[in-house]
């Protein structure tokens, strides 16, 4: 441990929890009706992070590659779940696509960053691999959910435009150019904004953490730059892979829409006249 690090005690946390009580009190005073949710969220923060801390301490102590890999697989499953949970529209196969996307961005971006850029040895060193992959997954999740939301919304609400293009002989790629373009743009705007504002509007969280932990600022900056680029790639890969996966399931190669596979989260499949039609033996 770095000698500059000031350890936090349980009593420090109790003092910090007063801040949450202030927020909840504000909600009561202003009748926002959020106090229950604020308290539940605060408890969840403590419990979830506490469990994570316990797990990480074990993983760091055990120091076995199989444990690190298992931990990463577990993170991928939950990141994929979260990405789908955020989507208001879903389609058959969305879970598989989300997990596949997460795995691709994890292996690709995570592999390059840990092996080539940072040069972690051994390759599974949990102190590096787990936080880096965690950030990659979090950003892939953003890319996935933003791109997916926009893409599925376009296919659902602007179906007539896609069909119009197809009706004149457009290929699948031609008919989906606009929905894919807007989906990818939407998926990439937040990380672009984050890179633009980095260090001016806000100190990036990881850099702040490293500086608090005693890392020399320029070293923290170097890490942050790597991380920013890594996150941009994770975002982009998330948005691209999920968009291609979704369009492949919802529009066939020959340009037949399979939007009966599209449904609203928590709602029934198939709405409207055109969608209620099922195929039958001709």
């Amino acid at each position: 441990m770095n000698p500059a690090l000031i350890a936090l005690t349980p009593s420090d946390l109790v003092v910090a929890s007063l801040f949450v009580l202030v927020a909840a009190g504000l909600s009561v005073a202003l009748r926002l009706g959020l106090e229950r949710r604020i308290l539940v969220a605060a408890v969840r923060t403590v419990v979830q992070l506490g469990l994570l801390g316990l797990v990480l301490e074990r993983v760091f102590a055990v120091r076995r590659p199989i444990v690190v890999v298992a931990m990463i697989a577990w993170m991928i499953v939950f990141a994929g779940r979260e990405a789908v949970a955020r989507s208001t529209r879903r389609y058959g196969g969305i879970w598989l696509d989300a997990w596949l996307t997460m795995t691709v961005s994890c292996l690709l971006v995570g592999g390059v960053v840990t092996r080539v850029v940072v040069g972690v040895t051994p390759w599974w060193e949990p102190q590096y691999v787990i936080p880096l992959l965690g950030m990659i997954l979090g950003n892939s999740l953003n890319g996935i959910s933003l791109a997916l939301e926009r893409l599925l919304e376009h296919l659902d609400t602007r179906r007539a435009e896609v069909e119009l293009l197809l009706a004149f002989g457009a290929t699948r790629a031609e008919a989906l150019r606009e929905p894919l373009r807007t989906a990818l743009r939407t998926g990439l705007i937040p990380i672009t904004n984050a890179m633009t504002a980095a260090g001016i509007v806000a100190l990036p969280g990881m850099m702040t953490g490293q500086i608090l932990a005693g890392t020399p600022p320029m070293q923290a900056v170097a890490y942050q730059v790597v991380v920013m680029f890594m996150l941009a790639a994770a975002n982009a890969i998330g948005a691209v892979v999920i968009s291609l996966g979704a369009t492949r399931r919802l529009v066939t190669r020959e340009g037949t829409l399979r939007l009966e596979r599209l449904f609203r989260a928590g709602g029934a499949r198939g709405r409207g006249k055109g969608r209620a039609v099922r195929r039958s033996a001709g």
Binding site: L165, L166, G169, V277, R279, S280, G282
Partner: protein
């Protein structure tokens, strides 16, 4: 000249709308597809165009050439659906006529600008600015725009789903003549679903849809 089918569909409750529907269109003809509301006319048109999933066992023949499943985009370029409600793409009126000619399916054909101006004039859209946002057009204007787009594209077959809705009688008559002139040429045909049978019943071929198949009336 065109032959395709058999198609079958069921409604949302699983009842059979139609079965074994096979459609044949002779050259130089306008065929009106008739049937009660909700009998699946639009569905059949969309199945012919291959926009709705089908069993994949149907045949699609046009002008002596047979089209397989993987050739659906080419099929649609030649058997083009003018969909119900006349959708438009975001963009100007002019762009909405021009975009098909940017598709791979156009095969290098140039946008017939002069004919576009003449057709717009004929359907009473000559006075609308070419840079007007197409989505701001009224329903009737969109239907005329859709018809002009189809006529400019000039495929062998047009499938038109209620192409004259929202038009007054006089304008519907103008559009009907344009569609008939299109279909009267060698190597061309049209299949039309009409809500309001304004077409002179004796001058066109009529097909009645029944749950068991198609009956030429």
């Amino acid at each position: 000249m065109l032959r395709c089918g058999p198609f079958g569909a069921r409604d949302g409750e699983g009842r059979v709308l139609f079965e074994s529907a096979v459609l044949e269109l002779p050259e130089r003809s306008v065929t009106v597809l008739e049937g009660p509301s909700g009998c699946g006319k639009s569905t059949l048109l969309r199945m012919i165009s291959g926009l709705l999933p089908t069993t994949g066992e149907e045949i699609r023949e046009l002008g002596g050439r047979s089209y397989g499943r993987s050739e659906l985009p080419e099929w649609r370029a030649g058997v083009t659906l003018l969909a119900q409600d006349a959708p438009v793409l975001p963009g100007t009126l002019e762009w909405n006529l021009e975009w098909p000619f940017r598709l791979r399916a156009a095969d290098g054909r140039a946008f017939p600008r002069e004919r576009a101006a003449a057709l717009l004039e004929a359907v009473g859209l000559g006075g609308v600015a070419a840079d007007r946002e197409a989505r701001s057009l009224s329903g009737g204007e969109r239907h005329r725009l859709a018809l002009v787009r189809g006529l400019l594209w000039d495929p062998p077959v047009l499938l038109a789903d209620e192409p004259f809705s929202g038009l007054d009688r006089k304008m519907a008559e103008v559009c009907r003549r344009l569609l008939e002139a299109f279909a009267a040429r060698s190597g061309h045909a049209a299949l039309v679903v009409l809500h309001d049978p304004i077409v002179d019943r004796d001058s066109v071929r009529r097909i009645r849809m029944t749950p068991r198949g198609m009956e030429v009336a």
